[in-house]
């Protein structure tokens, strides 16, 4: 399959790969997908007291599009408030990376990962 140059760039040079300590209270973790489906994304956000995402890291098991989608999302969420980050849509990701139709689920997964991380943060901070 021919990928866009943006997908290949993110795949070859993924941004923000890694993990934060899970027990750090400023860290929110969202993990979505399933190994049986062929992709699992773990997105971690470092969120300050003002609700601003200071840093983000990811690890992804999945195809090139899944890796590129999660890599892109870590770039996009940095500096945003959690409310702003929650507005990122899978269509924005798919458009930016020019994902082919069979890979749209990768962008959906990346959107879900943001939502899951935010839900984790809200749950841990009691709202």
């Amino acid at each position: 399959m021919a990928y866009s140059t943006k997908v290949i760039d993110h795949y070859e040079n993924p941004r923000n790969v890694g993990s934060f300590a899970k027990d750090d209270p400023t860290i929110a973790t969202g993990m979505v997908g399933a190994p049986a489906c062929g992709d699992v994304m773990k997105l971690q956000l470092k969120i300050n007291d003002q609700g601003i995402i200071e840093d983000a890291k990811f690890k992804t098991y999945g195809c090139g599009s899944a890796i590129a989608s999660s890599s892109l999302v870590t770039e996009w969420v940095k500096g945003k408030s959690i409310d702003e980050a929650a507005l990122i849509k899978n269509t924005d990701i798919a458009q930016e990376l020019a994902l082919p139709p069979v890979k749209i689920h990768c962008s959906i997964l990346a959107e879900d990962a943001i939502k899951a991380a935010i839900a984790d943060y809200k749950q841990r901070h009691g709202n």
Binding site: A34, A36, G38, T60, Y61, G62, G64, A66
Partner: protein, 404 residues
């Protein structure tokens, strides 16, 4: 070194230059272009002679009579002709057929087509090794079973079925035995005088011949009859009409001649390269060889790299041309049905790679492949949440995944 490195000989082989040279002599006005069915002039006679030499060369590789070889367009057509042709011809004897879940789609789909015609088909499970259990096969046989189809060498995992024993069983029960040998020619010794096989499919392009040509062995003693699937001028004793593709037939003959001459030396050379490859990747953690470790051809090595996804692995291995067990490029995300039949989890099936080595593979290419594989696995595991969890001692089976 020229990149990418070709390690997909099980998908297709390049045409041997000696074969290409031969093929080109049967196309143009200066060459031997006549229709082998033309009986009234020299052009036809020369082509017919060339076809008969090729037929003998193919028969020789498998120790058969040239009159038992029927030319087709490839192993897919041979499988269709054998299975549908025999099932339909002998339908009054019974309408039950047996095959195996790990067969090539050309066999499985031909069987499905027969089911729509009212035949019943048993799709036998294989053992975790990929091999057929003879007792289970025996148990699946019914009084109305007319045909059993089992492949010689599996195209994905390279395991060799016990064709001799299965043949004895079929013969003792009066059941027609078809064998898809597309991956076996030039790789394993085939002796149709001793093997109790009634029908055997061959392919040109898996054995350094051209694409678009194949053959079907149809036993004469005891005689096996087939319902033709392609009707026309009655070529190939009525079993397969259509003008014979002289250039492709001659090329396949030459390819099979070379295979007979060189297969033992080639098998040894390929085995040395295979051992070198396995030795080079054995220190990577969580690597599993798929299929029986002993009863296999050296050319096909299928391994799963746990916690790494197949398609991204293929991307990381862009400098080597290999196949993945993950059909992730389709919307269905369905892993290989062959690997699933061995009982592999979806994850392991998704993370499998088939390396297939052949005539032009070099030691240098294998060494470079080992290095590329190490780098790719290292990079992807550093990125893999599953690998991280495995390293942290998390049981992945106990995780509540959010499936999508």
């Amino acid at each position: 070194m020229k990149l990418p490195i070709y390690l997909d000989y099980a998908a297709t082989t390049p045409v041997d230059p000696r074969v290409a040279e031969k093929l080109m002599q049967f196309l143009t006005m200066d060459g031997c272009f006549g229709n082998p069915a033309s009986r009234s002039h020299k052009f036809g006679w020369q082509s017919e002679e060339a076809v008969e030499i090729a037929r003998a060369q193919i028969a020789e590789l498998v120790n058969a009579d040239p009159r038992e070889i029927v030319f087709t367009s490839g192993a897919t057509e041979s499988n269709n002709l054998a299975i549908k042709g025999a099932a339909q011809f002998y339908h009054r004897k019974g309408k039950h057929l047996i095959t195996v879940k790990t067969e090539h789609k050309a066999v499985l789909d031909a069987m499905r087509a027969l089911e729509r015609e009212g035949f019943e088909v048993t799709y036998l499970d294989v053992e975790a090794s990929g091999l057929v259990d003879l007792d289970k096969l025996t148990a699946a046989i019914r009084p109305d079973t007319t045909l059993i189809s089992i492949m010689f060498v599996n195209n994905e995992i390279g395991v060799i079925q016990d064709i001799a024993a299965i043949g004895e069983l079929c013969r003792s029960k009066g059941i027609i035995f078809h064998v898809d040998a597309a991956q076996a020619t030039g790789k394993v010794d085939i002796d149709l005088e001793t093997l109790k096989v009634d029908l055997m499919s061959f392919s040109g392009h898996k054995t350094y011949g051209p694409k678009g040509i194949g053959a079907l062995y149809v036993r004469r003693k005891p005689r096996i009859r087939l319902e033709a699937q392609t009707h026309g001028g009655g070529h190939e004793r009525g079993m397969r009409s259509g003008t014979l593709a002289t250039h492709q037939i001659v090329a396949m003959g030459e390819a099979f001649r070379i295979a007979k001459e060189e297969m033992h030396a080639e098998r040894e050379r390929v085995a040395v390269l295979r051992d070198r490859l396995l030795d080079g990747i054995k220190d990577i953690e969580q690597v599993f060889l798929n299929g029986d470790a002993v009863q296999r051809v050296p050319g096909i090595t299928n391994v799963s790299f746990n916690y790494v996804e197949g398609e991204s692995l293929i991307m990381a291995l862009k400098d080597i041309a290999v196949s993945s067990g993950s059909a992730c490029t389709s919307a269905s995300l369905e892993p290989s049905y062959v690997l699933r039949a061995l009982g592999l989890t979806d994850e392991l099936a998704h993370s499998s790679i088939r390396f297939s080595i052949g005539r032009y593979t070099t030691e240098e290419q294998i060494d470079h492949t080992i290095k590329i594989v190490h780098d790719a696995i290292g990079k992807l595991r550093d990125m893999s949440p599953l690998w991280e969890m495995y390293k942290d001692g998390v049981d992945l089976g106990s995780v509540a995944w959010v499936a999508h």
